[in-house]
Symmetry: C2
Subunit: 495 residues, 2 copies
Amino acid sequence: MISAYSRLLALGKELQLVNDSAALLGWDQEVLLPSRGIAYRAEQMSWFSGYVHERFTAAEVGEWIAEAEAGLAADDPVAAANCREWRHEYDRSTCLPTKLVQDLAEARVHSQAAWAEARKASDFSRFAPHLQKLVDLSREHAERWGYEDQLYDALIDRFERGATARGLTATLGSLREALVPVVEAATSRPAFDRSGLQGHYPIEKQSAFNREVAEAIGFDFEAGRIDTAVHPFCSGMAPYDTRLTTRYDESDFLSSLFGVLHEAGHGLYEQGLPKEWRGQPAGNSVSLGVHESQSRLWENHVGRSRAFWERWLPRAVHYFPHLAGLTPADLYAAVNQAERSHIRVEADEVTYDLHILLRFEIECAIFSGELAIADIPGEWNRRFESYFGLPVKNDAEGCLQDIHWSMAIFGYFPTYSLGNLNAAHLATSARRLDPAVARAFETADYAPLLAWMRKQIHEAGSLHLPDDLITRAAGSPVTSDALVAHLRERYLGEG
Amino acid sequence: MISAYSRLLALGKELQLVNDSAALLGWDQEVLLPSRGIAYRAEQMSWFSGYVHERFTAAEVGEWIAEAEAGLAADDPVAAANCREWRHEYDRSTCLPTKLVQDLAEARVHSQAAWAEARKASDFSRFAPHLQKLVDLSREHAERWGYEDQLYDALIDRFERGATARGLTATLGSLREALVPVVEAATSRPAFDRSGLQGHYPIEKQSAFNREVAEAIGFDFEAGRIDTAVHPFCSGMAPYDTRLTTRYDESDFLSSLFGVLHEAGHGLYEQGLPKEWRGQPAGNSVSLGVHESQSRLWENHVGRSRAFWERWLPRAVHYFPHLAGLTPADLYAAVNQAERSHIRVEADEVTYDLHILLRFEIECAIFSGELAIADIPGEWNRRFESYFGLPVKNDAEGCLQDIHWSMAIFGYFPTYSLGNLNAAHLATSARRLDPAVARAFETADYAPLLAWMRKQIHEAGSLHLPDDLITRAAGSPVTSDALVAHLRERYLGEG
């Protein structure tokens, strides 16, 4: 007789294969799809999600999970992780009435269009009724999913298993206190003179340079690609098929380079996931906050370091000869400039988390009921001015700037800061725990760093919940200490 | 109550959507897939074909088809075509035992590898046992599918509904008789001096020129793309997503240009299929012989004409200034050179069909039992020398040159010649029937030609069987007359 656990493994493998096919369609939509093909592609995507949902939420699957849980051996951590995640996903999928899911899907379509118009007109009031509806429907989802402490926790959990508003408030609150003086000092430094960077950077040269860097840090081009897309992203769409995208600005090679370093960080994680568990929950990346730790590691801790530019400036000069007069120190200064600004996606490393904190606090206040939708712009502007010392002139540069709320992905923002915190904590710990990693950061030969992340993070898949995974890898739970120390070193020249 | 016919329409729409998704995966495999991704992609492709097969061959589908047939209204040609094709496909799919299908699939995998090795070693004997197995299994398929006259007919029918060995023997036989003196005369003409064409043709310039030409003949780039692949092909993977591929030789712009004209001909057919019938058999392209008529039309009748080069040489000079000394007559001569050669895929328009005829006659002899597998090389070489006047030095340039037999797609070759015959018959008839089309061929403004094909061929989908479709469009059944007259004009300057 085939065991329930085996049936779940077989189903998981099949649905993974189907999801991976949908991932290619999704990737293609962003990168290649002819403009008139979008409506049909949407029908295809909808078929895939419907098919997978229907198969996974069948009654027999619930029976198999119960049976697998009952038969779980004490010494099988993979099966334990699988059962934990199957149960979690099954319960969360089956407790929602179809009508609620459809209502939210429909509301999202309308609210995204409304958000785009409202942002264009810089008028939050046009978006407000849509946001109200998304918040109400999300609240209903959260009530059904359940939570121990606060309703908002059930929303965060989708992106970061085990994270809570209370825990994040403590971590991000202490980060804020430590950051404020760093931001103050960093933004008071004289600006770096960028005139030496001015020039023409042909796309094909940027592409060749980026590829060389990505290959050097370990991205496997026999199991991956880099293509061009408006929105840079990474898609790990098969065990040996991880695709990054970037975009090019022919007056600034650093923009595509850091885009590639960031996405290649995600890509290294995807390429390092345990292939023998693909299709099992244990084989998945564990959370957005851990995923973002890998992208931020390579983008910021590696790519914005002195050692990186000592190694790579000569290659940059090879591709872009007009850079010949610059020194590694110039590049180091150029890529570590702090500036107070309104737009999150343009923010530097030191001010970035203040942008996130603002959003997190507002989401907390919305879902605790303390903040009415209509009051969001006022609250945003007040907090922004207090954190950044800049007035917000309009909603477009304020609370309407991000797409996230129009997609109802509440609880997503804090994972960006978790990524920054985890990246610093892991980089610092890895250096401390492994002398080869410490040397890697000095010599800019990062193979030992990748090997450490492979072993500690990538190959663990989803065996452990995110907090546990980070604690096991780093030897201690994440705090804001490592990130603050890192930023003080970068921006204030300390340490 | 939902009618059986409506159920079939819904099922067809869903399976089309799934097949279209598989088509993107297949396209991606040829164009983009990282090398290590191939094994998993094969698993995905197999899942898709298994899923569609299982859904379509369910017992209830057979009942729906019977019910739809019984309820068919006399004045509904679309429903009639749908029922005709559903019945045909259902019966052919369900009459095969699973084991036979699996045996052939497995034998194909092995025989393709064996063929590649045999060709490399130029030793037919290594491929012979595999070919024997494929022929035996194909024979068993044909017996189960059934036929009226010859077993081989059941194999041809997969690619060309309604075509028979007897009919093709008559058509291709008369073509051969007419061709022999044309080949003789054409290959005796002095060769065109190609030195004026020598030079460097950068890929991006070729790509821009090809795109301009493809757009001018009507290919819709908002509903399609051109990419690069080792094997040029066209995939109509969604109502508004038709993709062509080509390959580039930087010493010869004509190679990629004619590749694009050929594939764009396929693409125009795909883009012109009736979108409101997508997912219904009536909405499909009708056969390979009709598909190939569209590619050959634009490649040969348009692209190799004098008028085409009068219009396009100035644009070619714009992209490739070293062509400035050439005249349209030079290009016309350059693209209409005949030469006796061993390799089909390199053959010119006038000798091409002799290559096909040879393969068709050998396939006929294999499946009639007249020719043993072991005797294929001898028979091939004897016939080749009689048609081309050239000895065959080895199997690699002889009976091992094509991949088709190793894939067990017997009955495929004759559709290439049908394409040539249909293209000439349609081009000649359209010119005769519609003065605007006749002018189009003189002015190289081909909008009326595309409009005629849209109306007569593309928009008919699979309403009519191929022979019927061509006869309705051209006003008479296809014969070899138009093709022979066309080749005499091109190669002997007649008419």
